[in-house]
Amino acid sequence: MLNFNWLSGVSHETARMVFFGLFIFIGMLILLISNAYAFKGIETERRHWWNNLKLWGLVVLGMLFTVYYIF
């Protein structure tokens, strides 16, 4: 059990799906964050779409997803 032998039968494709599932789950959690929280620290009049940290997080996650999709 300590060696995760019980998962040795899991195929390569299924294991990749587990990774993708994790990325999607994290992406959904980021989407659940309120815009007010993502902008906190910036004055209201200086808030623009490009300094919405939710967007930053999703872009990085997209890059990660792409790397694991390719390899």
């Binding site: 060696n3 995760f4 032998n5 990774f19 620290g41 940290l53 990085v60 990660l64 694991y68 390899f71």
Partner: protein, 496 residues
């Protein structure tokens, strides 16, 4: 191996970093300036500093060597083994630490649990950093000696003098701002090698085809997700459970050298943005350290020691001038690791040990002075103890293993501390002690318990599980902490 122009590049790099670092002396008037940069730094500088502090000269060679042996699966450490943890840190943990005006992670643990947890965590980090510094000095200097023929003591003394000077006077602002330059040097040197390397192997597709045609042992060299029964240290189960769920989070959320940088941010947005920006830069690191190892499979096939892959690539691919830049990149990796350790250890000692136990309620100038003296003392200990490493060849691995004992239980109590109001001080303390103890036992009996080559990922996961369960059970049997005492320390607490 170095030409005249290479020496010029390296010396110019040394002088430039020294002048830049010393410039920031003028901004240090208080202990907050020294340890937290006056909480005034921008996200881009902090993000760059986080990334460059995380990679040293040894990583360049070690990761290239592992890529040579195992392929791109070693990239998991910078991709899935960093990015999700950095996003979690950015959106959940960092804002709490920043808003609380914390100087150290143990300080948070002390407020959330009790002073014993704070002291154990702080002392563990201080001991780790103090021993690690000497080993880091020696191992990096030996590496530079092998690569470039640079005398060992010249490397150590040059690095110690320059880093010591700007860290002593300029504090964390000097550390972060010199790290920015060091990252640029590292990226320019690294990408030059990758670009010229691709020309030498005939491009990406040609490289992949050639490696696949070299035999069945190379069939998985371009698979990030390795089977659970793979004999490499990177099966997907270890990567997911040990690395992604535990070690990465413990490192990005619980490591003082990483988190302290985010606490220097000018506001909460910059604190969060710094970690997300760092995660984007992190995505690029495998290109610098991993690709040269893969290219070396074609250019230098059959190397018995994979760690020779990168040195041979530098020697055969880079022209004069760029060799000096790559050499500077190695120094940048070494210096950025050393300056981080110096400043973070000084912060841990001053805030978690000296202030509560040795001299309470002293003036701010006094604590500033203590921080500076600690910086110098740690530097001296590092330099003087560095030759000891040569007597114990396995000490570098031993120190990294020691850190892996600590990370699982540390992450368990950080996670429960911030998300579960019912976690008590006794629960946190028991989790730390029993979790670390179980990791030590698993390491002692690893040959009979585990089947893979080096089971540090599995040990991290199981020590995390044991620490987590211990914290839950002990907390349920001990008196709850009043909600009023958890203000600003627990996620979604009504009074926070």
């Amino acid at each position: 191996m170095l030409a005249g122009i290479d020496y010029f590049v390296v010396i110019a790099y040394f002088v430039g970093v020294l002048i830049l670092g010393y410039y920031f002396k003028r901004f240090v008037d208080s202990s907050e300036d020294y340890f937290l940069g006056g909480r005034s730094l921008p996200f881009w500088a902090i993000g760059m500093s986080i990334v460059v502090s995380d990679i040293g000269a040894l990583d360049f060679v070690g990761v290239s060597g592992q890529a040579y042996r195992y392929g791109i699966s070693v990239g998991n450490f910078d991709w899935i083994g960093s990015v999700p943890a950095m996003l979690l840190a950015a959106f959940i943990f960092i804002p709490y630490f920043w808003r609380g005006g914390m100087y150290t992670i143990p300080e948070y643990l002390g407020k959330r649990f009790n002073r014993h947890v704070r002291t154990i965590a702080s002392l563990t980090w201080i001991i780790f950093f103090a021993v690690d510094l000497g080993v880091l000095f020696w191992a990096s200097a030996v590496l530079l000696n092998v690569l470039m023929g640079w005398p060992i003591w010249v490397s150590i003394l040059a690095t110690a003098s320059i880093v010591g000077l700007y860290t002593y006077f300029g504090g964390i602002t000097a550390v972060v701002m010199t790290d920015v330059v060091q990252l640029v040097v590292m990226f320019v040197g690294g990408f030059a090698l990758v670009f010229l390397g691709f020309e030498a192997v005939g491009g990406w597709e040609n490289m992949v085809d050639k490696i696949h045609n070299m035999g069945p042992e190379y069939s998985r060299h371009f698979q990030l997700v390795q089977p659970a029964d793979a004999e490499t240290p990177f099966p997907w189960t270890g990567i997911l459970f040990g690395l992604t769920f535990v070690m990465a989070n413990a490192y990005m959320i619980g490591n003082q050298t990483i988190v302290q940088r985010c606490l220097t941010a000018k506001n909460e947005w910059h604190a969060k943005a710094s970690m997300i920006f760092a995660s984007a830069l992190k995505m690029l690191i495998p290109l610098l350290v991993l690709f040269p190892g893969l290219m070396a499979i074609i250019i230098h096939p059959g190397l018995e020691d994979g760690d020779k892959a990168l040195p041979m690539m530098i020697k055969n691919i880079l022209p004069p001038g760029l060799v000096g830049l790559m050499f500077s990149a190695f120094f940048a990796g070494m210096m950025s690791s050393v300056d981080s350790i110096l400043n973070s250890t000084a912060t841990l000692f001053t805030k978690d040990i000296y202030e509560p136990y040795i001299k309470k309620n002293a003036s701010d100038k006094h604590y500033l002075q203590v921080g500076k003296i600690t910086t110098l003392s740690i530097l001296l200990i590092g330099v003087l103890s560095s030759p000891i490493s040569s007597l114990y060849p396995g000490i570098y691995v031993a120190i990294q293993t020691f850190l892996s004992f600590f990370q699982g239980p540390l992450f368990a109590i950080l996670l429960l501390g911030i998300f579960w109001k019912r976690t008590t001080g006794a629960g946190g303390l028991a989790a730390l002690i029993i979790g670390i103890g179980s990791a030590v036992l698993m390491n002692v009996f690893k040959a009979s318990i585990f089947t893979i080559e080096d089971p540090f990922l599995y040990i991290s996961w199981w020590s995390f599980v044991i620490g987590f369960i211990t914290a839950v059970v002990v907390s349920l049997f001990t008196k709850p902490v009043p909600v009023t005492e958890m203000k600003g320390l627990v996620y979604n607490a009504k009074d926070s």
